[in-house]
Structure formats: structure tokens, C-alpha cells
Amino acid sequence: MARTPADLVGAQPDPPFEITFDGRSVTALPGQTVAAALWGAGILAWRTTREGGRPRGAFCGIGQCYDCLATVNGEPNRRACLVPARPGDAITTQEGHGHDRLAV
């Protein structure tokens, strides 16, 4: 069985909890970012680009590149690589700028 980063550092995290991604249940550990939890569940893309609708997920992973934007609890443009996952968080795929409802 593959070793995980948690094994390598001997981490003893508190009990895991559930968040959702587009309605599907994802398990997260305390201290994980939204991006880490999604990656842990094998999810690599949670946004589509404004031009062309291409998939995007975490790129730099350190809050600099803004590629990993996601809609978290209804709020678009959150950097998934920086936002800590909280029990019950609802992550949804962000389409484009995430502000379609404001269009006139």
C-alpha cells in the first residue's frame, strides 16, 4: 500500500469529516485545504475557464496563481488551495467568473 504524506510525517489528525463537491460526499481531514481534500478524493478540476470552458484545478497550490478558484458555500472565486475545509462545506464547480446571476 502506498505511503501517504500523513504516514511520512507521522501525523495524528483529529477525526475526519465530510464536505460535498457538487453534491457528492468527500472526506476531509482537519487542517486540510479544500484543494487538498478534493485532490485526496481524486478530484482534479473544480472550475471552468471564462473563455472556452476548459477545466481548472490547483496549479501553484500556494495562493499565487488564482487557477484553483472554486465556489465555496455559494461564494465564488475562493482560492481552494488556501481555504481550510470545514465540516459540511458545499464546494461547487465554478463556471467562468461565477457571477452569472448578476448579468443584465
Binding site: R50, N77, H99, L102, A103, V104
Partner: protein, 395 residues
């Protein structure tokens, strides 16, 4: 020192005005060298919103320029590629109360006589035009001729469209003006050598006064700072250029103190641009939280929905301001071969094509599209030189 093939004309400045001068001069068959110490659109052009406005101009020489430029931009929109983002979106000026509405009505009536198209919009019809506008405004005026471009792309694409007759020298600062025995222009000296041409066009924008000084003439271009606040990308939430009625008074004011008025517009790329501030603080680029606070408050006052989105960045720019708010366009009678195309204050993007056309016609003895006497570059009196240290004070 290497000698280079001379051009017919050297344009100093690769902002939108310099680019338009190069474009129209090349169209007229002239060979042009454009030289800039920085990059294309690296100065005020790149810090602008790209407004092509007639709505904010009183009847007079600047409005005449703006109306001519409006037609030229429409022609250029067919020639330049779509990513210059030309949009004939129209301007909407709104008033909060009845007294403001009366002032707008009077202003619009005078503009109509000068050839501007205006349309009064009663308060209860404003939301047909701009659904997100704040409730309770008294009304406004729609100016269908107002338009917008993406200014940096516009400058770059004008230079590109000018074709092979234009040579571009970037990152090369002009350090001197070369003149002949009779004082006539022979070219410019730069850090990299000499460039030769019988004509030099000063399109150095806010730095045009310094270039004039190199040529030994007085042209008091001063910087008037403004900040633009930029939101995150949004769908179209603002359809027109929308601004509060007090903007017109701020534009025309000569005050050095900070003035802000709410100016809001969307862009094809998504971000909403928020202005406008004016203050005379030299070339100080320090971020001013007070200005940003006032810009944000003004914008959310007009469009409360903007209070729910993020501002992503801000940048300052320096409008090239001349004391009478008119640009300097045309030949300088004090130095044969020197022409000026600078000092357009906040209207340089809009007025660029007509400025370029005038400069090209001056260079080719063509017919001018209007009387350029109000823009003559020698209209400002040079201040008395300060007494030399140690000299006797005046009796």
C-alpha cells in the same frame, strides 16, 4: 556613432497619441520612427480606461475635436482587429436630484447645438437602461456617441496597422534635440545614438513639457493623478459608461485638491473599471487609501451590486494637464520642424485619432479638419527665470 537611415518624421512617445500620429503619417506616405524610453502604452495610455467621450465636454474647441475623433474611431474600429475592444456603448450621466437634472438639461441643450446627440432619461426609465442602478435617482442623459476602447491594445494595434513605414524604438530615451545652423530640427539624440529627421513630434504625454524643454521651448504640461479601481471579472452588470453629474464639473476644474466623482464602466474582458479621481501631487505613485475609499463609495452608491464583488487591483496614472485644459497640437512656431501632440489631460485616448490626423496634415501641408489655433503650443507665457543666486534682487 552609427548613422541610421533618416525618417521623414520622428514621433517621441509610443502612447496612443504617438501611435495615432505614426499611423496617420504613415497613411500619408511618410516614413516614421517612433521612439519611447519605455514600452508601447507604458505611460498614461496604459493607465487609462479608454473612454471616447463627447458627453463630458462643453461646447468649444475640445468638443469639436472629440466629435471629429468619434467619427475617426468608428472608422478605425473597422480597420483594427477586434481585440482593441471598441464598443459604441453610449454614456449615461445620472443626477441624484432635481437641481442636478436641471443642470444636465441645460448642459445637454448647449451640446446639442454643437452637434452632440443627447437623450433625456426620466428617473423611472433609468432601470430599463441600467437594471443595477441604485433606486431613487432623479434621471439622466444618454449620450449614444460615447464609446470605449482597450487603450493599450488600441495603441499597439495602431502601430501595427501603420505597417512597414513605421520603425519602433522602445526602451530608448530621448536625451537631446538635434538642430541645424538656423535652429531647425535635425533629429533627436538618444542613449543609443542619433536619429535623424527634419520633423519631431512631441507625443510624450505627461512628460511632454520636459521634451519641449530639451527643444528650448516652454510648454507647461503638469501631471494630474487619477486612480482606477478594478473589480474581479464579472458578466455584463454595467452596460454603458455611467457617471454622476458632478464629474463634468470636476473635469473642468483647475483645483489641485483631491476631487472624486463616480464613473463606472464594464469591459469586454469582465472587470468593471471604477474612477475617477483628480489631484495634483506631481508624479507621486503612492497608493492613496482615501482615494480608493471614495472611489469604492461612489461606485457602490451608483451600483449597490458592486458592494457584493471584490476589487482586485488599482493603479494610478498621470493625466497630462495644461492650464487651460486644451491639448497642444500642431507646429511650434518657435522651433522649425518641431510639432506637439500632447497635453490631452484625461481625453487622450478619445482625441488620439484626430490629433494624429492633424499632425499628418501639418506634415504634408494637407487641409486641417478644424481651426487648430486654440491648441497652438506657444500660447503659454514662460515664467520669469528665477534670479541667479547672489544676484541683486529687483529694485
Amino acid at each position: 556613432m552609427p548613422t541610421r537611415k533618416p525618417s521623414d518624421v520622428i514621433v517621441v512617445g509610443a502612447g496612443v497619441v504617438g501611435a495615432a500620429c505614426a499611423y496617420y503619417a504613415a497613411q500619408a506616405g511618410l516614413s516614421v520612427t517612433v521612439v519611447d524610453r519605455g514600452s508601447v502604452a507604458g505611460g498614461t495610455t496604459g493607465a487609462g480606461e479608454g473612454n471616447l467621450l463627447v458627453s463630458d465636454k462643453e461646447p468649444g474647441p475640445e468638443l469639436e475635436l472629440a466629435l471629429l475623433a468619434n467619427t475617426l474611431w468608428r472608422e478605425l474600429a473597422d480597420v483594427l482587429p477586434p481585440h482593441v475592444e471598441y464598443e459604441a456603448k453610449g454614456g449615461l450621466v445620472v443626477a441624484s436630484g432635481e437641481s442636478g437634472m436641471r443642470a444636465l438639461r441645460d448642459f445637454a441643450a448647449r451640446q446639442e447645438k454643437a452637434g452632440v446627440t443627447t437623450q433625456e432619461v426620466p428617473g423611472d426609465r433609468l432601470h430599463d437602461l441600467e437594471p443595477h442602478l441604485a433606486p431613487g435617482l432623479a434621471g439622466g442623459f444618454l449620450y449614444p456617441q460615447d464609446s470605449q476602447v482597450m487603450p493599450a491594445h488600441a495603441a499597439a494595434q495602431l502601430l501595427h496597422a501603420a505597417g512597414d513605414r513605421v520603425r519602433l524604438r522602445l526602451g530608448e530615451e530621448v536625451t537631446g534635440i538635434l538642430t541645424g545652423a538656423a535652429g531647425e530640427i535635425r533629429g533627436v539624440r538618444t542613449a543609443a545614438g542619433e536619429l535623424h529627421a527634419p520633423y519631431v513630434v512631441n507625443a510624450a504625454g505627461t512628460w511632454g513639457g520636459a521634451l519641449a524643454e530639451l527643444a528650448g521651448v516652454h510648454l507647461p504640461v503638469l501631471p494630474r493623478r487619477g486612480f482606477v479601481l478594478v473589480t474581479e471579472p464579472l458578466p455584463r452588470v454595467v452596460r454603458h459608461k455611467v457617471y454622476a453629474a458632478d464629474y463634468v464639473a470636476d473635469v473642468a476644474s483647475g483645483s489641485a485638491a483631491l476631487q472624486t466623482s463616480a464613473v463606472v464602466e464594464g469591459t469586454p474582458a469582465g472587470p468593471v473599471l471604477i474612477g475617477a479621481s483628480r489631484e495634483r501631487v506631481g508624479f507621486d505613485r503612492t497608493l492613496s487609501i482615501e482615494v480608493l475609499r471614495r472611489l469604492a463609495a461612489g461606485a457602490t452608491g451608483l451600483f449597490p451590486v458592486l458592494g457584493t464583488v471584490r476589487a482586485m487591483r488599482t493603479y494610478p496614472g498621470f493625466r497630462p494637464y495644461l492650464p487651460d485644459h486644451l491639448p497642444a497640437i500642431g507646429p511650434d512656431p518657435r522651433v522649425h520642424g518641431l510639432l506637439h501632440a500632447c497635453g490631452h489631460e484625461g481625453a487622450g485616448i478619445g482625441l488620439a485619432p484626430v490629433t494624429g490626423q492633424i499632425i499628418a496634415r501639418c506634415l504634408t501641408s494637407g487641409e486641417l479638419p478644424l481651426d487648430i489655433d486654440p491648441f497652438r503650443p506657444d500660447r503659454f507665457t514662460a515664467p520669469e527665470p528665477a534670479p541667479a543666486p547672489g544676484s541683486d534682487p529687483a529694485p
